[in-house]
Symmetry: C2
Subunit: 100 residues, 2 copies
């Protein structure tokens, strides 16, 4: 992607009981990808989960954080699914891609 743009680095540890998490997670990925300024997303989970979403600017991140359905998901996340998490908002200054 063409720099500069923003990355939201979300790292998390889940609780043992994560009923409903997969469905909500899938729904939020779909919803996020429809937002203005959304550029893409990478996600992986093993011991911890890391999701990095990419955004055009801070305003589009702010809008997504305040999206009504997303606010409901965030509340449930803190209450039920996440043992801990961290959100880091970062300006991507350079990018280098390799493909065989």
């Amino acid at each position: 992607m063409k720099t500069p743009y923003y990355a939201v680095i979300f790292t998390s540890s889940l609780e043992k009981n994560i009923d409903g998490y997969a469905e909500m997670s899938e729904k939020m990925v779909e919803l996020a990808s429809q937002q203005d300024g959304f550029l893409g997303m990478d996600s992986a989970r093993s011991e911890i989960g890391i999701t990095v979403s990419y955004w055009k600017d801070l305003a589009s991140i702010q809008q997504w954080r305040q999206n009504t359905e997303h606010l409901v998901a965030q509340k449930l996340g803190r209450k039920q699914w996440y043992k801990k998490f961290s959100v880091k908002i970062a300006l991507v200054e350079r990018e280098y891609d390799f493909e065989k």
Copy 2:
């Protein structure tokens, strides 16, 4: 961590044959963590791998990129283990942590 600091977001897809990758990966984690300006690292792998390492400044990232043993690992990585990868260098401006 106290902002601002830098994040290196490394996303990758591996080849089928990854002989020697786990050992090299472990060695590089250990080596990186000994570098000046290294602040921490998060890593997860499922379909793709995401490793985010955190650094004090651009100079410490540059030094790590040019570390002799790391250069050997990078060369092997491109030749043998990675189908593709992306390196993004990003300035972390804000951070929010949650823990139950």
